[in-house]
Subunit: 339 residues, 2 copies
């Protein structure tokens, strides 16, 4: 449905409580601080001290953080490595069982299952900011990390719409484009555009180093860019990639197949025509993305379906507001597909 | 041998004649213009006009360019795509058969064979500036393209030392680090750090695009960097990679092997430990390259062996001068290896 935009307030959580203060959590703490009350906790005393030294509210214990979050009706944000989620989610169930909960992990279906299992009363909406660098830790964070990047918010017919709106509104407020998707579609997509790039960068770094000092001395832009994310901490890459095993295997098999066919063609006919043409066309699609998008306004009873259609089509939300009790979204969407 | 640096003049060619005015040739024309007389030729009338409009000397025909180069004892630089070299080399043999000749192609052994076959009297020294972008054409060039990048100069006991010194001196003068290597070592190295990165970028671009609009919408830094060189013109990538087939097949097989083993490990045990550790270590070697290098001065009867040892060890030349009739090189070299 297309209609006029109504000026109204962007939904926001009453407060947020960020568990983990590394690159993503630390950036969120900084970015959100101007918009909502923010408190944080980290398992590392050194990190807690650094966060406090920079002027942010830090709890000494996880339980204290969750008790305060429950009282403030805060949105709790899991911002630890995904391999550390289980004890955090158990603590949520023990201390603040019905809290609004999100996370910033790079996999979504498996986290949703974990929350269902360990904190079934929590009002959970998964999210994934598509931002990062090869650096990590509190000091690497930045209030601008999320600006002009995509922020995935998981959405289904069963989602708690208020929590979803609070997560999406927070992401919009800190400068992200919000992409509503279901968890499986997210996992399949990021396997191709986030996890596979890490595996290929690690592979390339190893093959390059196998060429010894001369090869590394000659390495220039193509090698430096192609291996940039191989500088990421191995344990973080493992946590991210191993947590998305099924979807990543599909992407790796696609890559092995494409590279293997190119290898065969190079060996037998000497030609790389097929790989160079198809790969170039793929990259052009990246450079041209968003060019067919037009602004639309979404509201009404089909809102969830319409939001999911926006995400699946490569579109995103740029605004969200509550007009009375109704949620109204502004989105960029490929208009030709829109009915 | 270590000794004092003697202040003397850097050897330079009396003039250069650049055949081809794309990204690399066009950048060389601009970069060298302050140091030596430069003339150019391009098969494209449009390009010739653009070069002339920017104030550089351009010949209307290939034969005129080579005749003038012969008279000026200029260094002729083949700066066309390597697939276009054969007619250029034939013209050299016909018009200026004993001219000093180099090229800037990304493969070296096959070009040396082509020159041996088609212009056997030319005094050829292969070179390869390890610089470039994903853009091409005269307009994409820049006088700064070679600054602080590696410039390979091929060297053997049979090389014409004067031509080698002129090529190396020119590269140093325009800001490059000169890496002396033999052609086969160059080809094996660049297969790993230049040609394989292109094939992996093209593969990644294709797998990403296979994820459709959602995947491309979510693509962020790791995908953008990992596919950057897939934006290069396919015919240039083909010319470069297909011309280094044997060495590239070895590098591709290494990559397929490493990625295939990682795929098996992920599928069977769920672990990516081996790939993430080894790839991260490889990338660290890139980041740490050059840290063990120390300045040495090379001269005397073993100079060619010493220059090749510098290149093979990941070192490079920063200065070259003729003191009387003797060539003296300043190099950065891993001092622990140096006797």
């Amino acid at each position: 449905m297309m209609c006029d935009v109504t000026t109204a307030s962007t939904p926001l959580p009453p407060a947020i409580c960020v568990l983990g203060a590394g690159l993503i959590g630390g950036s969120l703490i900084r970015a959100a601080a101007g918009a909502v009350p923010v408190s944080a906790w980290s398992p590392s005393p050194t990190t807690r001290e650094a966060v406090a030294d920079d002027g942010f509210a830090v709890h000494d214990t996880l339980d204290a953080a969750l008790e305060a979050a429950g009282k403030a009706e805060a949105l709790v944000v899991l911002a630890a490595p995904v391999t550390e989620f289980a004890p955090l989610i158990k603590a949520v169930d023990r201390v603040a069982p019905t809290v609004a909960l999100t996370d910033v992990a790079g996999v979504k279906a498996s986290v949703a299952e974990l929350v269902d299992e360990l904190a079934p009363r929590a009002r959970y909406v998964g999210s994934h900011p598509m931002a990062g660098t090869q650096h990590s830790g509190w000091a690497a964070g930045s209030a601008d990390l999320f600006r002009d990047t995509a922020w995935v918010t998981c959405l289904t017919e069963d989602s708690d719409q208020d929590v979803w709106a609070a997560v999406a509104g927070l992401a919009l407020t800190i400068g992200s484009r919000v992409v509503p998707v279901d968890a499986d579609a997210h996992d399949a997509a990021v396997a191709r555009i986030s996890h596979l790039p890490h595996l290929l960068a690690l592979t390339l770094a190893q093959v390059g180093a196998g060429g010894g000092d001369l090869a590394l001395a000659l390495a220039a832009g193509s090698f430096a860019d192609g291996t940039r994310v191989a500088a990421s901490r191995p344990e973080l890459v493992r946590a991210m990639c191993e947590g998305n095993r099924e979807a990543l295997l599909t992407a790796v098999d696609d890559a092995l197949g494409i590279l293997g066919v190119a290898r065969g063609s190079l060996a037998s006919t000497g030609s790389l025509a097929k790989l160079t043409e198809a790969g170039h066309a793929g990259r052009l699609r990246l450079d041209q993305r968003g060019q067919n998008l037009h602004e639309v306004t979404l509201r009404g009873s089909d809102l969830i379906d319409e939001l999911l259609a926006v995400g699946a089509a490569g579109g995103y939300l740029t605004g969200l507001s509550t007009a009375g009790t109704e949620l109204v979204a502004t989105a960029w969407y490929p208009i030709d597909d829109y009915d």
